[in-house]
């Protein structure tokens, strides 16, 4: 369903994604794990038509995201890592707008919005503007929105960041249900290893833009002779904290953006 070969993304001299290759088959739940700044989000952006790769090939359901934008966009849904709601609109309006953009039939629109808002306990606040919501509520709304239409592929970029265990549980139960009943392929990133362990059928670990290991959770544990996925992850990526490299990537991105912006 997703096929990535020798994918590279460079920002100036900096290589954010460095020659990665992987396959995700249909109906699979695939976890993409890595420390901060490893290149997870950049990869997702290239898979979801938001960013053009420097080199390498990407295929989603046989289509190239860099060329067949609209066709590819019809096939996936995404929950972004950072906010993407319209703060001035109400919760209901945000979801309604999403339904219209994704051509969810009018008949099922209302019922689906109600079901998801209820599932994430936001139904009572549906007519409040999003700017009055707390961080956790916005996150929940964002997830609810991502699940409104049933895509072939669902991208979840650190969806559970800042959520309480109840909501995380709801989310993963729902995602697994979608996967089993609708055969939705799921591509997720998370920092919670036990989540990846629970839901993902296969895992790839990325660090410094390169994939350092791929396989099922038991395989990764055996190969690193670790007891838990977390230990395996640390064995593969080292235990140093990556704040600096994050800053570096962000700074470089910022610089390349500023340069683009001030070019006249």
């Amino acid at each position: 369903m997703i096929r990535v070969q020798n994918l590279v993304k460079k920002y100036g001299d900096f290589t954010a994604v460095d020659d990665i290759s992987f396959d995700v088959s249909q109906g699979e739940i695939f976890a993409f794990l890595g420390p901060n700044g490893a290149g997870k989000t950049t990869t997702i952006k290239m898979l979801t038509t938001l960013l053009k790769p420097t080199s390498g090939t990407v295929e989603l359901d046989g289509l190239n995201p860099a060329v067949d934008h609209t066709e590819v966009r019809k096939r996936f849904g995404i929950v972004f890592q950072d906010p993407s709601l319209d703060d001035e609109l109400t919760a209901y309006e945000n979801l309604d707008l999403h339904c219209i953009l994704y051509k969810v039939p009018r008949k099922v629109r209302k019922e689906r919005i109600q079901r998801l808002l209820t599932l994430f306990e936001l139904w009572d606040r549906r007519h409040d503007p999003v700017k009055e919501f707390s961080g956790g509520m916005k996150r929940r709304l964002e997830i609810a929105r991502g699940l409104l239409h049933t895509p072939k592929i669902l991208f979840l970029d650190e969806p559970t960041l800042g959520l309480d265990p109840q909501t995380r549980n709801h989310l993963w139960t729902h995602v697994q249900k979608l996967n089993q009943e609708e055969n939705v392929t799921v591509f997720l990133t998370t920092h919670y290893m036990e989540e990846a362990d629970r839901v993902a059928q296969r895992i790839a670990i990325i660090d410094h833009g390169k994939i350092v290991a791929q396989g099922t959770s038991p395989e990764l544990k055996t190969n690193t002779s670790s007891e838990t996925l977390e230990q395996a992850f640390l064995a593969l990526t080292g235990s140093s904290i990556r704040e600096e490299s994050v800053g570096g990537v962000d700074r470089l991105r910022q610089m390349s953006k500023m340069w683009r912006g001030s070019r006249r």
Binding site: K45, T70, R73, D86, D87, L89, E93, L97, L101
Partner: protein, 249 residues
């Protein structure tokens, strides 16, 4: 089609809900009308040019639309920073539809502001000499709104921060306004200034509105105004769509 509609409605909702923006954006035209209109009125009269408020009102209405439209286009930077842009960019909708929806929404908001300012001008003593040509005035207003929303969108597609926006305002939009004949008659000004006005699209917008609202005093003439505005609007819409379609996040 639905996507265009829903993005258009979104802009309108945002506008209606931010009362601060509505009130705030009316302060400037009011100030221009009172300070310049009443301040320079006597001088203008003595110079034999007639009632200055009559002359100034179309310019101030045009100014409101110009600033409001550019700002609406620039809201794109806002949406990019607050993330909403991503939501629309991954939707299975051609980018041209997104651009058209946004631009129509922004232009409608700018046009609404312009209509409010017409009413303010009426309160300040402005009277249209030919009410029958009000639809023509609205047509010119709509063209100014569309043209500069597209212009703002084009600029915002290549910029990613608000500091750069300040630069655009000070070096492009302000000169366009001040060197357009919105505040003074272009007849008899130095040749250099006339040339600058002749290549300034906003000058044609003001001229067209003036022709429609008070008649007889058009510098370029309404047909030329209409032709120039239509062509430039079409070009800017094309440019805006192209740059918008190339946005990477």
């Amino acid at each position: 089609m639905n996507a265009i509609y829903v993005l258009w409605i979104r802009q309108l909702k945002r506008y209606v809900r931010s009362r601060a923006r509505i009130v705030g954006s009316l302060g400037q035209p009011l100030l221009f009308l009172v300070a310049l209109g009443f301040g320079f009125g006597p001088v203008f009269q003595k110079a034999g040019q007639g009632n200055y408020i009559q002359f100034l009102a179309p310019g101030v209405i045009g100014m409101t639309i110009l600033f409001s439209a550019v700002f609406s286009g620039i809201e794109l930077i806002w949406d990019r920073q607050f993330g909403f842009l991503k939501e629309t960019m991954v939707a299975p909708v051609p980018r041209i539809a997104i651009m058209i929806g946004r631009t129509c929404g922004g232009a409608t908001v700018a046009l609404a502001q312009g209509v409010i300012v017409i009413l303010i001008c009426y309160a300040a003593g402005f009277r249209s000499t030919n009410l029958a040509s009000l639809p023509f005035a609205l047509l010119f207003m709509a063209l100014i709104a569309l043209m500069f929303t597209a212009f703002g969108t084009a600029i915002a597609s290549v910029l990613s921060d608000f500091q750069a926006f300040q630069l655009v305002m000070n070096f492009l939009i302000m000169p366009m306004f001040f060197l357009s004949g919105a505040l003074f008659p272009l007849l008899g000004v130095p040749r250099a200034l006339q040339i600058v006005a002749a290549v300034n699209p906003f000058a044609y917008g003001v001229d067209g509105m003036r022709a429609a609202l008070i008649g007889g005093t058009a510098h370029f003439g309404a047909p030329l105004d209409l032709a120039v505005l239509s062509v430039i609007t079409a070009l800017l819409l094309a440019l805006g769509s192209y740059l918008f379609s190339r946005i990477q996040l």
